[in-house]
Subunit: 346 residues, 4 copies
């Protein structure tokens, strides 16, 4: 029997999840949708007539016809929605961030730990991107020896007017923080932020780009360039420097054109096209596992907590222009790494 | 309701199709399998217990629980199986080739044309490969002007001992022939084969590589290198030269390694890994269309007939070492190109 | 003491040679120039005041102050000029072609063979291009086994109005013919030309592109695309397919730009920029050898003869649309390959 | 008349400079060599018999037959040698570093400023590397807007046993420091060093790699990875992030091989092969300018002073694990940037 899924939030992200679950994820069936905006719900139901509307998120979460929940609501509602899924005892895949701040994330982690069962996954979808997985696999295979440094870039064409400087870290960098932890298999210990100044950034709404340097528990130094007004397109890369070689993410395949004096290939416009297959794989894995009673792969509530703690530390490090140590709670036993992950404890 | 699919043939290809349909194709359900070898059937049923065995292919084709059929049986059975699907009035996706020879393909085309309804699709899966589609899209968008030449390579690590020189064309080149027709949107008019000789190929079981030159109805010259003992890996490329630029297939994305004095990225081992996403997309599109009562995209019986006619012309051209014109039947009205395809008539 | 060089021809090519010899070639000194056009001579002497004018080419060739001659005069004068250098017993580097046609080339070869001393070098400068040399070296090192096929492209942005279809072969393809012989270390045995037709080439001054297929004495099949109105830029590539791998020319290094949705690097505008370092290396090697009394590397009169014979065979093969065997004289003993070259005899 | 050059130091570097000046630099003639080790001198004179030995460096510097001096002696002798060239009023090209420490560099700068004439150039040869020049040109052409960040890597296969951790900065990073200043056209204002720790670097002779972050006077943030035991080969890259795009150094051209399941190209073994053309161009430009009485391009004594000051600041920043501001003297008027350079004043 298909897994019956309720989706909270019918904005761009929620609608895209409904589309993927309906058209590209085997074994999934979106049964119920909720959004406070009836116009959005109507649009979804026009495209997917079999999806029923729920008047409230509570009714959706507790509906008989809902086995599991996808949350694509505004960030400030994530914590409350996830907590209610936990009370309902239903698996939930929550778009990042897990909560508005680390305190909220902590409340989710603590409640899940109390209940003693992992029900939460966080939509840190790069873990399902084939390009990133291949880098992690090469590292795990010993292709470049032990990691000693890592360089990441996260470049976005432009961000909306409501975007703030702090969101550079809490909204954008959380993906990179997760990738660093997941690829290196260890935790971030401290953060320094190097902010440019001067004429080139003088009139921007916030300081951009920002260069973050992480140091991990294993002593690896990681640089991360966050550039949210990069103009040229959307690009995410990482390069791991090892004791015997270097491995870096493949360029995404795109036809090569020879035109007008240049050899060129396309760059993505945004994360939607760049990570389309990651979203599909994430939902497919989650649906498969939920349907089979397994623990899905992907980021846990603990991961969601740690990426937000680290992002908040970046905010502080940027403000104070100094190295700041990560101060996180101890990891509850519920999140002890399975053998295939082997993360260091913070 | 899911499309109920019967699969004829439980060898490597048939089993892989069953796996894809079961795990990665939304809306598909493999209900019945047939293979004359009971051991193969047993293996399939071990992995996919809900799939029922059919004692004969006829019983499979005509089963109530089978809406549509996938054929992955030996090549010599394709024609007969497809014809029986036509009689049963059920959609069929037949692995290439459509029949053992062009006469067989012609019988299928004629029977389907008589029946007046397209039920057949041929597994020329490159049409669903994103890398090839992107080249076709660029050409259609006018990125390089009008095509004036095209260069293709098809390199295979090695072939089994039973592979013959003629199969270079009838087994391998059919994929390239289809790509040329599909990307250029016109038909191949003539074929020349340039065969190497001399010490390097003296001890091979058959002449390899072979260089084929096609000329199309629109006057474009196409080169194709077929190399079936290329050793280094599996590689398929194409490059279209236009009046204002050149477009070529992207390299498949693979992490970049710096190791031991070289910068490198991986090459596929075989068609299975290279075209994994193409197979999935092909089956997904076919399932979706069959389920919705639409005409699926992909190669028709007419395409299956033409690629085999062209491959047989290559065999003759290689033997006679001269240019040979393609001699094909007139295209039945059933296969008139839909607007989005706009192929020239032969 | 510096080698004193006279340059015949003060057009673009001659002037560039004078500049290179004056500024970038150690041990060279341009002492005399001749051109029938006094304006051109005046321009040269403005930039290089120490260069004396010679009223006639004969006076230049026979001048005391001229040890060796570079010929950059119109093609139709090459033969006569080279013959006079031979009579004067002075080393000569003649821009390709060696003569207006193969009969003229033959006269040069026969006279040089009579005189029994190699004095002629032909400006087939790709032999000095690091990118091409590296491919040849890899092949010689056995990196890809024995060569079984080769693919070349020669794409030019545009050609002047006086360019004719035959010149596709006699003017442009001579470089590629030389590269094929030099890299594969064997001779071309036959030629087929596949000419496009149809709307895309209907209004061109001549048929373009042309696809040439060579077969060598060792049985290797070589494809060559010649495209003289390629618009997008200037590009020369070759790829050698061997029994255990494939080696191809590096892309010329150019900074990578991420801009406006594309990742790109520059393509050369013309042969001058693409082969700037090849011209310099050619003149440097020639000056060094002439100064030291050695045989310079590079193409001999025999190479100059063979490339023109082969180009003329291409003209005939294009006209007759059939395979045509190369019909060349027997190689005089004077041109027996030195050990490092090991060409097969025709 | 050729420029007559004396070379002090006949080790690997000195001998290579003698070879380049003799074989590849027009207008240069090495007339005299000095090295305290007579065996080295003998080896040089075996290859270049016309080069006379000078018993002392003073005799070389003051020899009639020496117009200009190249210094490739041990680092600790640079200052004294350069100062004596200044006294002799002869142009000198000194391998980096200009002196053993910044105090020594300062003495050279002050003496040259007193004398009021630029005679010193420092062998920071990357300014003559076509790959780096092309990045600088693109930036100057506005191809990527205003620079806002920059990322550099400097990876060396291995270093000799006598190499110390401080030399990571004073010996290796001086090249990168110079490139950053020269490409960005501004000065470095402060330095932070992020040092890895933990098992991967535990047994190394010194901490490696080191990640340096520079902030420039214009507010640009620059990351630099220095990795001196990178094993895989020698690689130097830089990438400039601008307000409208990104430009990065081209990969050095190398033939592409398809072999054993991988597509690969070669990486340099060391700086000698990587920067061969840069050394040649540096010596050619210097010889040309010295011969013509011009100011040569390339790094001045002031540049030599600043790179060493900055490298020493890196040493301190690594030790103190904190951001350290560059504390340099005011630039003497003698080094006011010419219009084509337009560096900011420190
Ligand atoms: Mg996300
Ligand atoms: Mg197939
Ligand atoms: Mg030429
Ligand atoms: Mg140096």
């Amino acid at each position: 029997r298909d897994v019956q899924i309720g989706v909270v939030g019918a904005g761009a992200m929620g609608t895209e999840h409904i589309r993927l679950l309906s058209e590209q994820v085997p074994g999934a069936r979106v049964t119920v949708v909720h959004d406070p905006d009836p116009a959005r719900v109507a649009l979804v139901r026009q495209r997917f007539p079999h999806v029923l509307p729920a008047p409230t998120s509570d009714e959706l979460i507790n509906a008989e016809a809902v086995d599991a929940i996808v949350i694509a609501a505004p960030d400030e509602d994530h914590e409350s929605l996830v907590l209610r899924c936990l009370e309902a005892g239903k698996p939930v895949l929550c778009e990042k961030p897990l909560a508005s701040d680390s305190a909220g994330c902590l409340r989710v982690v603590q409640r899940e730990a109390e209940l003693g069962r992992q029900l939460v996954r966080v939509g840190l979808m790069r873990r399902f991107d084939p390009v990133h997985r291949a880098v992690r696999d090469q590292l795990a295979d010993g292709a470049v020896g032990e990691p000693v440094a890592m360089h990441c870039t996260h470049r976005v064409r432009e961000v909306p007017a409501w975007f703030t400087g702090d969101m550079t870290f809490t909204n954008a960098a959380v993906h990179d923080i997760d990738v660093v932890r997941w690829i290196l298999g260890t935790e971030i210990a401290s953060v320094t932020v190097h902010s440019p100044s001067g004429p080139a950034v003088a009139n921007a709404a916030f300081v951009d780009p920002q260069i973050v340097v992480f140091e991990t528990l294993r002593g690896t130094v990681v640089t991360l360039e966050l550039f949210l007004n990069a103009r040229f397109g959307y690009q995410v890369t990482c390069e791991v420097v090892g004791t015997s070689g270097v491995v870096s993410t493949a360029q995404v395949a795109s036809p090569v054109l020879l035109r007008q004096g240049r050899r060129s290939s396309g760059i993505d416009i945004g994360f939607q096209s760049r990570f389309a297959s990651a979203y599909q794989a994430e939902l497919t894995e989650w649906t498969r596992a939920v349907g089979g009673g397994d623990q899905p792969g992907g980021a846990t509530a603990w991961d969601g907590y740690l990426v937000t703690v680290t992002a908040e530390t970046c905010v502080r490090a940027a403000r104070e222009a100094t190295r700041v140590a990560i101060d996180a709670m101890e990891r509850p036993a519920l999140y002890d790494p399975r053998r295939d992950a082997q993360l260091d404890a913070v």
